[in-house]
């Protein structure tokens, strides 16, 4: 098939950036979207031109490295599918495709389609963990977790940290990502001792990183390639409110 690509090119974070148009004549249906970009890049390199820089690694929909906003949608048109798992048979001969980086204030563009998502790591660093040192753990089966809770925790823990939720949100909020981590631990007995402190710390860091506020558009849930449910946002909001009015809030503030 023949495909026309309009791809965002930006030399570095200071560059203004622009779309450039490319034509590919021999796109095969079985190619993944990224393999199609590989073909373009091989062509560009052979012509002595700089290839289009994009993040990717596992190409199995699990590492969270791939991004891309395809025709205005983070990870493209297929539901519950990362860009690396999107295949060209979902497009038609003659299609024009617009490819941009994930756009959000907290995700500055580094080059072309690569953005800086390290804000996510700093949110985890602020509280996305259970404070247990190696060696402290009790016998595994001494902690019982009702199956329903384990399943809920797993539903939330599946987040791959890709940032599509942020890119999809008109406000550039990171609510779904943060809520997924908060909920993962909130459903488990192991997560209870630090439950309040965690949600306060993570939300505070989220705000520091320049993510926007949530005004319940729920575009995040629609864009999420792992189908993380927006109900986790409600859970996080409840936890946050409760924690804000508890003594731990004070303790947390003092520590700061």
């Amino acid at each position: 098939m023949k495909i026309t690509l309009h791809i965002w090119r930006q030399k570095n974070s200071n560059d203004k950036g622009h779309f450039e148009t490319y034509h590919l004549d021999n796109v095969i249906e079985d190619m993944s979207f990224l393999e199609m970009l590989d073909v373009l890049n091989e062509k560009l390199v052979a012509e002595g031109k700089e290839p289009v820089a994009f993040d990717h690694d596992c190409r199995e929909g699990i590492c969270g490295a791939c991004s891309l906003t395809i025709n205005g949608i983070p990870h493209g048109p297929e539901k519950n599918t990362t860009t690396c798992q999107l295949h060209m048979r979902k497009f038609k001969d003659g299609d024009e495709i617009w490819v941009e980086p994930f756009r959000a204030r907290a995700f500055p563009v580094i080059k072309d389609l690569i953005v800086d998502r390290s804000a996510f790591d700093r949110i985890i660093q602020a509280g996305g963990f259970i404070s247990v040192n190696t060696g402290q753990a009790p016998e595994a089966n001494s902690i019982l977790v009702p199956k329903q809770n384990a399943d809920n925790a797993m539903d939330a823990a599946q987040c791959i940290g890709c940032g599509a939720c942020v890119a999809a949100c008109p406000n550039g909020a990171a609510m779904l990502f943060v809520a997924a981590k908060v909920s993962h631990f909130a459903y488990l007995p192991q997560g209870q001792p630090e439950r309040k402190r965690r949600v306060l710390a993570m939300v505070e860091q989220m705000q520091k990183e320049g993510f926007g506020n949530c005004s319940n558009f729920y575009e995040c849930g629609a864009a999420c390639p792992k189908g993380i449910s927006v109900r986790f946002i409600a859970l996080m909001n409840r936890d946050y409110l409760k924690a804000s009015y508890s003594e731990e809030k004070l303790e947390f503030a003092e520590k700061e």
Partner: protein, 637 residues
């Protein structure tokens, strides 16, 4: 040279405890005087970084990814083994030890494997405490399943995303220490060389992938947790960026590389669909429980599989291995598929594929049962291939998946270079010539959480380390060499892209050093690889700047190292004149196609010493003694 694995004396059950008692300790106040550099944030690297920082050491961590959570460990699906014996089905540390030694076809060090089985239970405890959402029974207790043909249910899992959940556990423990300022994290930073001063590993030289800056880091110990090298085959189930540079560069600086020819080929992967293919996707092996494997009887039969009548189909596994049929062991099934494809009977656009057909199973059990068992796998298959496996047979083909070989380490996980420790898939340690399913995750976390944190302290407590800084002439020398290598690559003004060279190398390695190997083929490859390498240094095309984010340069540097490393693999495969586990030499097989070991001559680890690019490396050995698991033929009759 005969290498000493430094296995402690005493009965195997007591070795590790005794060793832990005998090792020297570093006092808590002194720990913060030591700096440890860890390269890699997969299960091995992240767990080690967290544990060492918790102990009070200063840790610096490096990864080429944008976030530590992207390490390739994230992709592991099936599960992690432990000897908990929760299902009460007769499991024990001893049995896990025994199975792993035998599964590795008697080419691993017994004492290491025993220790691995011993700490396996602590891993599950630790992960549960971290909040890893393992599968549970309705009672709230942990669930287990059997995996990879094991007769016991000893595998713990988190849906089909066990690696992801374990890695996120280790990552969160590590990030907590980053927040506490006990760990300095360097992302998008690639280690390009090791710095050895007076025979001791003291630091690394890295390239900042964002701006090309070459930098040195000095430490009291260096830990490599940089994963495996399956991508030497170009196409594999590994992530795109997985490469051999860190371990290969350490090898060039004097570390021995052990058993590089021990690679594992997984039988059930989605076949290549064309030249554009960038990776191969693993499909769970469980599919072979109900699918029947076949190819057309006649070469070149291009009909729709559904139009090929029964009597023109060859159910080759059922024919060749009547007792095991479609469930024949991984290596046997893989080699049989290759054989029928080599005969021109392979299916699919490239001819490298065999059918895995569920039509009979659907007829027998109904579509609903099949959907319950394999629904999500069928969905993933359809997403990638566009074919619906309920209606037409799946196509599968074997693919490189895991590398048992790696840098040689002693019982303390230290290489022959003092100060250089190697953990996870990057070392050669516990899997011998073949790894069992669900035991790589176990090994990575065992090394990082429960072994290295003790043994590295012993190293510090018993070693007098000179004070050095990155101003040391050796750092300057290595930095300069790295810069010159980059300049040289940037200046080649040829026609072929790094990916083209990688693909060509992959073909050579797959054809001559893949699923089965023979003397003739290996010798041919030993001529082809150096030629390709020469061409690379003449005919590579480069674009962009070295002082910028440059994906072509990143790739070229990795391919350059693969082109040298491949030769080492070939030497190992040639010199190991026996078949064992994943290393199948056609000259050495039983009439039924089983690998024929030669314990008289090859019951040892081969550890190779670098002697210059293009020169034959020196082969050292570490003899293997089997005191507890008697050497027997690994039979699946």
């Amino acid at each position: 040279m005969i290498l000493d694995g430094k296995v402690p004396s005493g009965r195997i059950e007591e070795k590790w405890d005794k060793h832990r008692f005998e090792m020297k300790l570093v006092s808590p106040a002194n720990k913060r005087k030591y700096k440890i550099l860890i390269v890699g944030t997969g299960l091995a690297g992240a767990s080690a970084a967290a544990s060492l920082a918790e102990l009070g050491y200063n840790v610096e961590v490096f990864t080429y990814h944008d976030s530590p959570r992207r390490a390739h460990s994230i992709a592991a699906q099936g599960g992690i083994n432990a000897a908990k014996n929760y299902p009460n089905d007769g499991d024990s540390i001893w049995r896990l030890f025994y199975d792993t030694v035998k599964g590795g076809d008697f080419r691993a060090r017994e004492a290491n494997v025993y220790r691995l089985a011993q700490v396996s239970n602590n891993i599950i405890d630790q992960c549960v405490a971290q909040g890893v959402p393992f599968a549970r029974e309705y009672s709230g207790y942990l669930a287990n399943r059997s995996f990879g043909g094991a007769q016991l249910s000893r595998t713990f899992y988190a849906r089909g995303q066990t690696g992801q959940q374990l890695l996120l556990g280790a990552y969160s423990a590590m990030m907590r220490q980053v927040g506490l300022k006990k760990i300095i994290l360097h992302t998008r930073t690639e280690m390009l060389d090791l710095v050895v001063i007076d025979g001791v590993a003291r630091g690394i030289v890295t390239r900042n992938l964002l701006n090309g800056k070459i930098e040195s880091f000095v430490g009291d110990a260096v830990v490599l947790a940089t994963g495996g090298y399956s991508n030497v085959f170009f196409l594999s189930t590994n992530a795109q960026a997985c490469n051999v540079t860190a371990t290969y560069r350490a090898y060039k600086r004097g570390a021995f590389f052990a058993n590089p020819a021990f690679t594992q080929i997984h039988p059930t992967c989605i076949p290549q669909s064309g030249e554009h293919q960038s990776k191969l996707t693993l499909m769970s092996e469980s599919l072979r429980n109900d699918g029947r494997v076949w190819v057309p009887k006649n070469p070149g039969d291009k009909r729709d599989p559904r139009d090929i009548p029964e009597d023109e189909r060859d159910y080759f596994l059922e024919r060749m291995y009547p007792s095991y049929g479609n469930l024949a062991p991984r290596d046997i099934a893989s080699r049989a598929a290759k054989r029928v494809c080599d005969e021109g009977r392979g299916v699919g656009p490239t001819g490298n594929g065999v059918y895995l057909d569920f039509a009979d199973a659907i007829k027998r059990l109904g579509k609903k049962v099949i959907e319950e068992r394999y629904g999500n796998l069928f969905e993933m298959y359809e997403r990638i291939t566009g074919d619906n496996p309920y209606e037409t047979p799946m196509r599968i083909y074997p693919a490189p998946h895991y590398t048992m070989g790696g840098l040689w380490v002693d019982y303390n996980l230290m290489s022959n270079l003092p100060g250089l420790h190697v953990i996870g898939e990057a070392n050669f340690s516990d899997h011998g010539a073949n790894r069992l399913g669900a035991s790589a995750l176990m090994q990575g976390l065992a090394d990082g959480y429960f072994i290295l944190p003790y043994t590295i302290g012993h190293y510090f407590a018993t070693t007098k380390l000179e004070k050095v800084t990155t101003d040391h002439p050796e750092f300057k020398k290595v930095e300069k060499e790295v810069e010159e290598r980059i300049k040289k690559i940037m200046s080649i003004n040829g026609k072929k892209t790094p990916t083209q060279f990688h693909r060509e190398l992959g073909k050579i390695m797959w054809n001559y050093c893949g699923m089965s190997r023979n003397e003739q083929g290996l010798k041919t490859a030993l001529e082809l690889v150096p030629k390709l390498r020469e061409e690379f240094w003449q005919n590579l095309t480069m674009v962009g700047e070295e002082g910028d984010l440059n994906i072509v340069l990143e790739k070229a540097l990795r391919v350059a190292d693969f082109l040298e490393f491949a030769e080492l693999m070939l030497w190992d495969a040639l010199e190991r004149n026996e078949s064992c586990g994943g290393h199948f030499r056609e000259e050495h097989q039983y009439p039924d196609g089983e690998a024929k070991r030669d314990d008289e001559n090859f019951c040892h680890v081969a550890a190779w010493e670098f002697t210059g690019v293009g020169n034959k490396p020196i082969r050292h050995i570490e003899p293997l003694v089997f005191e507890y698991v008697p050497l027997t033929v690994r039979s699946y009759k």
